[in-house]
Structures are given as C-alpha cells and as structure tokens.
Symmetry: C2
DNA sequence: GATTTGTTTAATAGCTCTATTAATAACGAT
DNA sequence: ATCGTTATTAATAGAGCTATTAAACAAATC
C-alpha cells in the first residue's frame, strides 16, 4: 500500500480530534467547549472522542501542556556572542513578539486556564517548566545585565524585572487584540499594521528605559 | 419599624445574590458558574435568582458592565495644574496600579469574557465606554504630550502608545499574580512586597523610556 | 382580621453534557 | 475467505443546568 499517499489523503481521526479540540479549547476555554461540539466539528461520533482520550480533562491537559511549552520556548534568550547587548535584546524582544503574532489567542487562553485552576494541574505544569527552563534563563540574563551595569552602559535593573517588562508589553498587545479589532473596526490589514508599529514602539520603550 | 436596624441586620436577598454572583463570575467565569451555585452560596432557592434577574445572562451583564466601568474609571487622567508633567504621570500610573491592587482578579476576568464574546454584548459595552470616555481622555493627553515634546522634555510618542504601555505593565502584574503566588510559593506578605517593588519599577521604566 | 402584594420555595419540564456499553464496520494479516 | 484487531456508531444511563409554574409564606394595607 502507498503509505505516503494514504497519509496525505486520510488524516487519522485521532489527530483530527486533537486539532479540532485544540482550536475549540483555545477559542472558548475548557468549560464552554463540549465533547459533542468537538466530535461534530471533527466529523465523527461523540463516543470516539472518549474512545481515544477517555475523558475531556485528559484531552484538555494534553493540549494545554504543549501550548504552555510552546509559549515559554518562544522566549529562549538569544546569547549570540557576535552581537552587542542591545542587538541581542532587540532580537529577543522581536522574536518573542513574532511568536505571539503567530498564535494570537494563546496568551489569554493560558492565563485564563491558570485562573480556572480547579481539578487540573495547570500550575504544576508551569512550575515544572519554570524549574527546568526559566530560572536557568534568568540566571544567565542576570550575569549579562550585571556586566552591562558595571560598565555603566545601562541602569540598575534585575533580570526578572526586565523579562516581566518585555512579556507584559508584548503579551498585552494580543490580550487587547479583540478590543482594538472591534473598537477601531479596522480591517485585517489595518490591524496587522498597528501591531507592527506597536512592536517598534515596544522595542524603543525598553531600550530607552534601560539607559543609565 | 426600625428601618436603620432592619437594613443592617437583613440585607435584601436581591443584593446578596448580586454580590455572590459577582464573586463567582469573577472567580470562575460565565460558563463555569451556575445559577444553582449562586443560589446555594447566597442561601436561597435557585428559582429566586431567576425571579430577580430572569436569566443568567441578564444577571451577568449587569455585573460585567459595572466592572468594566470601574476598570476604566480608575484610569481617569489626573490633570492637576499645580503638578509637573512628570509628577502627574507618576500619580496616574500609581493610581491605576492601586485600583488594580484592590481588585486583582478583575483584569483576567474582563479580558476573558471579552474573548468568549458569543451572544453577549461585552464588546458593545466597551465600545460605548470608549466613545464616552477614553477617546476624550486620549485627546487631552495628546495635547499635553505635544507640548512636552515641543519643549524637548520628552521623546516623540503618541498618547495611545503611552497609555498602552502603562496599562500593559500594570495589568500584567495581576494577570501573572497566580503564577507568582504559586511558583515562588511566598506568603501573602511576600507577594504584597513584590507587588509594591514592581510598582516602583514600572514607574521608573516609563519615566526613563520617555526621556528625549 | 381579611385582602392584596411581594418574597420564597418545591417541583418539574426540557436540555445538554459526559461517559459507558454493546453492536457494527473496516481493515490487515493469515 | 476468514479471523482478529482496530475504528466507529447508536443508544442510553445518569447527572447537572436553566427556566417556568404553582403553591406557600410573609408583610403591608385596608
């Protein structure tokens, strides 16, 4: 049998369900999404969702975990020795921003599911990621910052504060996205333009704020 | 009958329901909150919730509207003629921050209900508030900024960008609140301290970023 | 004290949702 | 072609939810 052709024609229903569920959960949140709706949009019987994933919570956790990992990985600090601190910082901010641009609804989804943290382990997942990645990242950044501060090239600031500032400014653009979209009632292209202008402004703001 | 005593002893059930509903909706969101739960926590029969507010959506909209109004009103720009631009700006940032401190779960609640904007009129409420208040506020701020820019006391920046920056930095502290709380597992007092330090850092960041 | 008006409850109809079970269809290997 | 495994569906139990209705209760008015 022609495996290559098969896989391009007939995507397995298990994967279809996963994709549809991802879309719906991110769009509407956990409690507002039903397995009935997932099945209907995936084009299968509702029992099949439970056949593959047993429970709704199970299916949800699988998706959430991958989403959170993605969100954090997007923030890996670039430590390119050939670039200056300013250039590295600019690139990091822009990369984080661009990652969010590709998945605009992700921040509000993750933040919201953290808040509705009953019976599921959202915060445990995050804590694990924090232990494995973020604290290491902060240490590295802290060392770099101390060097810059000593050389009087930037003002006194902690790595945590800098990261928080970057994340705050970047994420909020996409949290406010539906508001901007609706209130200003601009078209798709217009919104894209506003977002790109905002990206420049964020970089300026952060670089300026660091001057000694 | 002793009206004064009555009202202090026996709060009307209608108001109790409203308060409980507010708490639950903000805590868990619209779809995860049931009228059964509201009634049970208010100490009355579930039918009473519908007697006073007819539908769940009705009750929810009443609450949401008041919450959004509060969130925006907290950001009224102080235009104190006796203070310098820098002093006014500092005070505005701090007032906005303090308002959020008093209602930490509000931002994520409002943002989330905006996202889940089906069948309800969340965005229409916001648009109305925008028309009535925010656009006026932005115009006023823009005039002030232009003056400062002309006098070369600050760099080139639009009112919208400045407001977005303030709101981003302030709100994100409280969006990330459950994470900080859990990941760093500090006590109530520790969290309060971190929040106050962050407030100072945000003011510094913004003021520094505006230097010409 | 009887009557009207407003408040609260019990009961329930009618949905929708999750999860399970048993039966059927599809398919790959023998 | 047959068998065994995997995928899929129909049916349904059991629970919870919203909203309505009719009846009971309390309080104010006459």
């Amino acid at each position: 049998m022609k495996k290559g052709q098969e896989s391009s024609k007939k995507v397995s229903m298990e994967i279809t369900i996963l994709k549809v569920a991802e879309e719906l959960f991110v769009e509407k949140g956990y409690s507002a999404t039903s397995t009935v709706e997932i099945a209907s949009k995936a084009g299968c019987n509702q029992a099949l969702v439970h056949y593959y994933f047993r429970t709704k919570a199970n299916l949800f956790n699988k998706i959430l975990e991958s989403k959170i990992s993605f969100m954090v990985s997007a923030f890996d600090y670039i430590d390119n020795k050939e670039l200056s601190f300013t250039e590295n910082l600019t690139k990091t901010i822009e990369m984080h921003f661009d990652a969010l641009t590709k998945d605009k609804k992700l921040p509000i989804f993750v933040l919201n599911e953290i808040k509705n943290n009953d019976n599921n382990n959202v915060l445990d997942i995050i804590r694990e990621i924090f232990r494995n990645k973020i604290s290491f990242l902060l240490d590295k950044l802290d060392a770099i910052l101390q060097e810059e501060i000593k050389a009087k090239r930037i003002r006194e600031i902690s790595a945590l504060d800098l990261v928080l500032t970057i994340v705050s400014l970047n994420i909020f653009v996409f949290l406010a996205y539906p508001i901007v979209d609706y209130v200003l009632s601009v078209n798709e292209k217009g919104v894209e333009l506003i977002i790109q202008q905002r990206k420049k402004e964020i970089v300026s703001t952060i670089l300026n704020s660091l001057r000694p």
